[in-house]
């Protein structure tokens, strides 16, 4: 969406990502989503009197990996306490990095070649999770509030971009690219629906080249779709306000996905004074060169590089193919695609099967051996399986494992040898002489007619491409 009358959107994003450490940030409790409420807790993450935090070094590894992938400088850093009362925060303060974060000053290049600066990416601990029952569904006015502290103390990295984003689609592309990076570094599983990655958007509008306008911070953006819709809504709201002679008030706003609107949560004037001060229970964090080198050496290629490599294997890719590449990169499936291509498979076909069939069953992809994928794609490519059959076989391999050839045999997908396919085609030509004549005269649509008839006779076991080959041979 673009704004009318020369207005421009200015967006900066704060992305919170939960780190995929085995244990929490300051204690040994499991960092796991979906456990029974209040089962992964201990005196430390419950903030019991007398308990003390001890920093999880793996959280530091992952924070540095994110910083390195975003071209940040790894800096000597400290921890602070951010003080405010909230029932899901057991100590009534959050341990966070403040004026000296571990990662400073980087950037992220997007697929459209635009660059968004990264101001900082710092470590902090997550809070527990509140559920408010009855009343408004928010804390104030609820009948009852329940708190699950399993999430309390889970390590987070907050990645703060510069105010460099100029459209909701660019914001979405940034979030998507960042998500790919977080997955590639092993820092996050990127599951926005589980809260592994949460986004706040700072949105303002201005006339091009004028100074930045007053911004509003939008919370509760739980999907890329919400992010994009909320920015568009908020920018339009601000433009209408300004064009109507009003002013934008600096405030925090809540995005309601169902209504499609933002609404005021709190205004700047009654913003909390967090009374930040150095966390006296933790020591300074200054990873030495060998620690940094160890993390850097463990980093694999980032999405941009992997995308370039995969696109490089395609000749004049279509938009649809590029979209499929995006899915493959996003889901980290290109090792399978590359393995298939290296084994002589058609890259386009391998990308298509990965972006569709594998993407539909990601849970089982981890168990899929490259050999099975390669074999299925090659069987389809050689005409031993129809597209429909190949998809079925792949689905079966994903669900229950086993050899694709054995599965194809068991399902009765035994190849139609070209001689028996030829016999079938001959029989159909004899049966439908009028259609055959029109096809010979150049009516290509009738190829589909014959394919359909062949499929009917063979119960879907024929390969469409092979049928056309047989028809062509007799034309």
């Amino acid at each position: 969406m673009t704004l009318a009358n020369g207005w421009e959107i200015v967006v900066g994003l704060e992305v919170h990502t939960e780190l995929r450490t085995a244990s929490k940030m300051f204690c040994g409790c499991a960092n796991a989503f979906g456990a029974e409420p209040n089962t992964n807790i201990c005196p430390v993450c419950l903030g019991l009197p007398g308990s003390l935090p001890v920093l999880n070094e793996h959280a530091v590894d992952l924070a540095m990996a994110i910083g390195m992938a975003l071209h940040c400088t790894i800096a000597p850093s400290t921890f602070h306490r951010k003080n405010y009362f909230y029932p899901d925060m057991p100590k009534d303060f959050q341990i966070s990095q403040y004026d000296l974060p571990i990662n400073v000053g980087g950037y992220l290049d997007l697929p459209d070649d635009s660059r968004v600066s990264i101001e900082r990416a710092h470590l902090e601990e997550d809070t527990g999770k509140s559920t408010h029952l009855g009343g408004t569904g928010r804390l104030q006015g609820a009948d009852r509030s329940l708190v699950d502290y399993n999430r309390s103390g889970v390590p987070l990295v907050e990645i703060v971009s510069g105010p460099d984003i100029r459209s909701s689609s660019q914001a979405r592309a940034y979030a998507q690219e960042l998500r790919g990076i977080l997955i590639a570094t092993g820092a996050s599983d990127g599951r926005m629906e589980e809260g592994s990655m949460r986004i706040d958007a700072n949105v303002s509008v201005r006339k091009a080249d004028e100074a930045f306008g007053t911004r509003c911070e939008i919370k509760n953006l739980n999907s890329l779709r919400s992010l994009q819709r909320a920015i568009d809504y908020e920018a339009q709201r601000q433009v209408e306000l300004l064009e109507g002679g009003g002013t934008v008030r600096q405030e925090t706003r809540h995005w309601d996905e169902n209504v499609g609107e933002t609404s005021t949560m709190r205004v700047k004037e009654d913003a909390d004074d967090y009374r930040y001060f150095r966390e006296p229970d933790l020591v300074d964090l200054a990873p030495d060169q060998s620690w940094q080198d160890r993390v850097r050496d463990g980093l694999g290629p980032m999405p941009a590089e992997r995308r370039r490599a995969l696109v490089g294997r395609l000749m004049n890719p279509t938009t649809a193919q590029l979209d499929a590449v995006e899915v493959v990169i996003d889901l980290g499936l290109e090792p399978l695609v590359n393995a298939a291509a290296d084994a002589g498979a058609d890259v386009t076909l391998a990308i298509s099967r990965a972006a569709n069939e594998l993407a539909a069953d990601l849970g089982d992809v981890a168990k899929l051996s490259p050999e099975s994928f390669i074999e299925t794609v090659l069987m389809e490519q050689r005409g031993e399986l129809s597209a429909t059959q190949a998809k079925t076989v792949l689905g079966e391999v994903l669900a229950h494992g086993g050899s694709p050839r054995a599965i194809a045999a068991a399902m009765g997908f035994e190849q139609l040898s070209s001689s028996s396919l030829g016999d079938t085609v001959e029989a159909l030509i004899a049966q439908y002489p009028d259609e055959w004549a029109r096809y010979r005269e150049g009516d290509e649509k009738l190829a589909q007619f014959f394919i359909g008839q062949v499929m009917k006779v063979t119960k879907g076991q024929a390969n469409g491409k092979s049928v056309i080959d047989e028809l062509q041979a007799r034309r």
Binding site: P43, L46, G47, L48, P49, G50, S51, L52, P53, V54, L55, R81, N83, F85, P87, P90, K91, D92, F93, L139, Q140, G141, S145, V147, D273, R275, Y276, F277, P280, D281, L282, V283
Partner: protein, 474 residues
């Protein structure tokens, strides 16, 4: 009354048993606890089980530990699994921690018998134990006077002969000051020497657990048990527990002692006289003494009353009625937080939370908390310069002997001044020991204070032992 060293010897040799020593301790508690209000909780059952274990170890010929069968009292701001831990506050009344402080585990492993939890100023904020929500503790040497504080209960337990040893916590003098007022040896160890895991925080950058004992050697034995690296405390020093007992009788020959003007200014004359005699005693034992001035120490009190309340305002935020302890119901959660904290905290705790909240607030941070941090840095530098000239420093522990109930409660500032000589050591994160040396008004004990740089405990114990002998105790 037997020393801890003697008790452990007797128990290990069979001359006595842990069960007998425990019984003696429980009898002494029964005799005077109602009068003195020393213990908030006595764990007779747990201590009996521990005594039986020690006696079984001895019977088998196994090592029963350095504190085998020694009854010990624990300040009620340290967590002990299943045992009420109140910090002498209504806000924690009835709370039983599900875990042990590291020092509790260390004491248990060493064969000590944990007989109970002692009274204190609420959340360790005070210098007389008059701020306890459950009533004050009386000084066993003169029940009309305070035992000092905040670890007044622990000091009184040892002074009344209820236990041979006790542990307290020292944030601005809360071990050394009551030790001085009760005629005991009290130690504020180097910051990080003893794990704080399980010590309910007052001011995290200043808090340190340490021993009370009747003799320097007993204090050294106890500190060796308490000290040493703990992976559960990020500020714990990496080194293992230092060797202290072996150096208790090293003497002070050739040591340079600095008598610090700022550590006697404003003290009663009898206290100043005691410090001068202590200097003479050290010189007689072969030390050399100089007088010196460290003007930065005068700023300690002001800096402390910004830093400690600032940290406390954050540390005590968690007592909000949501998860444990007191809850006073109200219409919504913020009203519940407010009602709980209003009812649960005493006046001094509220005062410090407000002071600290103010000192950290936007617009005031630089002028108050930020400035106090600078003073703290200056104090560390000033101590370091002094230790370039001398090996240890000497001064008073408190300005006066034990004072009467109510003497300093009307004006908080007069109470705060009780800690003017002890606070600098906490700000610097260094070590100090208070040792009884002579008596003053009413025959009450006077404590003198020896200060040293970080990890100088062995040196301090040697010097304290010289003073102990010079004061007529073998």
């Amino acid at each position: 009354m037997k020393t801890a060293v003697q008790i452990a010897l007797d128990v290990k040799s069979g001359a006595s048993s842990a069960a007998e020593e425990l019984q003696r301790s429980l009898d002494a508690i029964r005799a005077r606890n109602d009068e003195l209000h020393v213990f908030l909780y006595v764990d007779e059952e747990g201590a009996s089980v521990a005594a039986a274990k020690v006696d079984a170890l001895v019977a088998r010929g196994d090592d029963a530990g350095a504190l085998a069968g020694v009854p010990i009292a624990v300040k009620d701001n340290m967590c002990q699994r299943g045992i009420p831990t109140t910090c002498a506050s209504k806000i924690l009344e009835g709370w039983r921690p599900p875990y042990n402080a590291t020092v509790i585990d260390r004491l248990t492993s060493a064969g000590a018998l944990l007989v109970g939890k002692t009274n204190l100023d609420e959340f360790a904020m005070g210098s007389s134990t008059e701020n306890s929500a459950f009533g004050p503790t009386r000084n066993p040497l003169d029940p009309s006077r305070v035992p000092g504080g905040s670890s007044g209960g622990s000091a009184a337990a040892v002074a009344a002969g209820m236990t041979a040893l006790a542990i307290g916590s020292d944030t601005g003098g809360s071990i050394r000051q009551p030790a001085a007022l009760c005629g005991l040896v009290g130690v504020k160890p180097t910051y990080g020497l003893v794990s704080r895991y399980g010590l309910v925080a007052f001011a995290s950058s200043l808090d340190q657990i340490g021993p009370f004992a009747t003799t320097v050697t007993d204090a050294a034995v106890l500190l060796e048990v308490l000290a040493g690296h703990d992976p559960m405390d990020s500020t714990s020093l990496p080194e293992p527990s230092p060797s202290l007992v072996a150096h208790v009788n090293d003497g002070v020959a050739g040591k340079r002692v600095g008598l610090v003007r700022e550590l006697i200014d404003g003290a009663d004359q009898e206290v100043v006289d005691a410090v001068n005699r202590a200097r003479d005693a050290l010189c007689e034992a072969g030390a050399t003494a100089v007088e010196l001035s460290i003007p930065e120490l005068r700023l300690g009190l002001s800096a402390y009353y910004l830093i400690a309340p600032a940290e406390a305002s954050s540390n005590l935020a968690r007592y909000d009625g949501v998860r444990y302890g007191l809850r006073v119901d109200a219409d919504d959660v913020s009203a519940m937080n407010e009602a709980t904290r209003t009812a649960g905290f005493g006046a001094e705790v509220k005062r410090r939370i407000m002071l600290g909240t103010y000192a950290l607030s936007a617009g005031y941070y630089d002028a108050y908390y930020g400035q106090a941090l600078k003073v703290r840095t200056q104090m560390i530098d000033a101590f370091a310069r002094a230790y370039g000239q001398v090996d240890l420093l000497l001064g008073a522990t408190t300005p006066s002997v034990a004072f009467a109930f109510g003497a300093k409660t009307a004006n908080p500032l007069t109470m705060y001044l009780s800690d003017v000589f002890t606070i600098p050591t906490n700000l610097a994160g260094e070590a100090a020991i208070s040792v009884p040396f002579g008596t003053g008004d009413g025959g009450l004990p006077i404590g003198v204070q020896l200060l040293g740089p970080g990890r100088s405990e062995a040196r301090l114990f040697s010097a304290a032992r010289v003073l102990e002998r010079a004061d007529g105790r073998p």
